[in-house]
Amino acid sequence: MNQTQLLERGRKLLPWVAGGVLLAIMTGPQGRVGQPAYSISQALHPGHLFESIAITVVVGVIAQLWAARPAQVRESITQLRSESSRFYARREVRYGVYAALLAFAIVLPHIVGAYWQEVLVDKIGIFALLAVGLNVVVGFAGLLDLGYIAFYAIGAYVAAYFTGALPVQPPFILNDFYILFFAVAAAMIAGLILGAPTLRLRGDYLAIVTLGFGEIITILAVNLDSVTNGSRGAPGITSFSFHVFGINYDWGLSQTPYYYLLLVFAVVIMVAFHLLENSRVGRAWTAIREDEVAAQACGIPPVKYKLMAFAIGASTSGFAGVLYAAKISFINPSSFTVLFSILVLVLVIFGGMGSLIGPIVGAAAIQWFFAYVQKHDGAPIPGIGVKIPIHPEDIYLYVGAVLIIMMIFRPQGIIPSRRRAREIGLAEHGIGGADATGAPVGSPVS
């Protein structure tokens, strides 16, 4: 490489350096009263500035190397991809992969420390379950639900109610396993009540209505003090326990038993949803997502099927809410803010909409990243000895950036569903629209 080429490369890195400065300012300290320049002067402190620029320049160099990859590398990647997808398309390979993943999930809590065990349950497990449920709404039916966490809150508060943890006393105290039925029913009814009028609306309106609903539930939880105990929350929710045939088992507050409980539920739910996707109902959802007018011409009532997806998603969310409440034993409204609705959506989009294990992978990857940054904040990474220059309070900034990059280079997510990947591929070639979450809904009938 000669000097001019090098200079050219260097020049291309300039925007990334500018991006680094911007990042430094965005991740800098908060301002102080009476010192208007404090925040920016601290943000541009050489150490911090250098770290930020280092992050963006490294990303920039990787992006340039990737863009300038030689044709040979390009070809071999394409070849590898088609070969691996052909390999993976074989049924026995697919089941082998699932079995290996399950085996890994079973041994996982025994090979990690206490901190990661907690992360596995509270952060990854619960959110994986939520993501699997939202995937039915977003991935299968193509509806954008921004108030998904409201149903999770409903499930959690139902659990609190029936274990006697709320100021209002229930007629009878129930075991958590029975509460699951009540919570699923309550969340489903809430989903039907919200969905029946709003699912007649087109995509963006639905998003706004659900966003509003999510806010309403949070505000109710804060302000309905006499029922929910307000922002002080509900302490003392009993844990899952099992008393049949003289066998008594209490899940208590420990991590590993809850992990396995979650794992069993998650596997059962995933198998059920997989069957659902490959059934008449799943195909009807695909049809509606692709072309609502043609779907109607095939005798599919769109509102009914959308409502079905919405209710199934809501019930899964309510189900996860009970597990969360029983595990943590304490809930308060701050666990149910709109941020969590967005987070679950991010997990689904990142992992791959409409795919079976995509949402699980999304939950694992992003929640792991959160927990990792939280754990190593300010401390050097063991083994390497360098501090990671990412701080927990800026974490959503980085996740947002990753999501933008994903949307450009891999809009179908890490592990996409085959149908979804095809749809996106076709839409990029101008064949067909996407769905309620994306491209405009079917053009008027000719």
Binding site: A272, S279, V281, A284, A297, P301, M308, L426, I431
Partner: protein, 274 residues
């Protein structure tokens, strides 16, 4: 046929307006069970509007449309949702093909076949016996229909990757999957080549004769219209201007005028002569 044929669809005095534009003006026509009826007319004559009134997409301001099921029960089609009308036994294809592009040919047909099945989410998640039986029946019927339109060999190809003529036939197979009494074909020959047109002609005949499905056809290709249809209705500016056997309609002066313009009207007469 000595006795009066049974009326399947009765359109009487239908008027459809969009603001100041009258798209259908007092249109009346009857379709008998078992016949192939063509609706022809120049662009903008209201043919597709008529289809959309039949399938519940538009609701006309005046008039009535009724559909008589084989059981003898008569129902109004006005105000019915498109999916209800499909369930009643009226299937359609679209002028600009509307297949589910990311699905295979087989899956497209299967979605049509599943119109009358009853599996719900619970049955699907638990794989109940009925679900399994319906899946099996659906697979079988879908393959039969793909065979019928000659696409069995391409069952697992993406519908978007099929050639144009095959997409037309696939759309017809999907519509037939819903087990219709009446099939509405909206310009099925548009954009197809002569060989595909001949196949289509055969296909329409077989749908009518072998499957016993009544066909209502909108078409510009006069050769196809004249060769397959029993009766022709001509629309112009939203009005029925002629009706009758293909050969009679062809000689009707009002029809010739609608298509070619009145003689002596500018240079049109010369063009018609040439």
């Amino acid at each position: 046929m000595s006795e009066q044929p049974r009326v399947l669809v009765d359109v009487s005095h239908v008027t459809l307006r969009f603001g100041g534009v009258t798209s259908l003006d007092d249109v009346s026509l009857q379709q008998h069970a078992g016949e192939i009826l063509s609706v022809i007319g120049p662009n903008g004559a209201g043919k597709t509007s008529l289809f959309n009134c039949l399938t519940g997409v538009y609701v006309p301001q005046e008039g009535a449309i009724t559909f008589t099921a084989p059981s003898g029960a008569t129902r109004s089609l006005l105000g019915g949702k498109p999916h209800d009308i499909t369930q009643l036994g009226i299937a359609r294809t679209f002028q600009n093909i509307r297949l589910f592009n990311a699905l295979t040919a087989f899956e497209n047909v299967k979605i049509g076949v599943e119109a009358h099945q009853r599996t719900g989410p619970v049955g699907a998640m638990l794989r109940l016996p009925r679900t399994r039986r319906e899946e099996r029946d659906g697979d079988k019927r879908s393959f039969e229909l793909l065979d019928f339109v000659g696409l069995r060999a391409r069952a697992n190809e993406l519908s978007a990757s099929l050639p144009y003529g095959a997409q037309r036939r696939l759309e017809i197979a999907r519509a037939l999957g819903t087990d219709p009494q009446l099939l509405l074909l909206d310009e099925p020959a548009a954009g197809t080549n002569p060989a595909e047109k001949r196949d289509l002609e055969q296909l329409i005949r077989r749908i009518n004769a072998d499957m016993g499905v009544t066909v209502l056809l909108i078409e510009h290709d006069m050769r196809l219209v004249m060769s397959v249809t029993d009766r022709v209705v001509v629309l112009n500016f939203g009005r029925v201007i002629a009706e009758g056997a293909p050969a009679d309609v062809q000689r009707n002066p009002a029809v010739v005028e609608a298509y070619l313009g009145a003689p002596g009207e500018g240079g049109d007469g010369d063009a018609a002569a040439g």
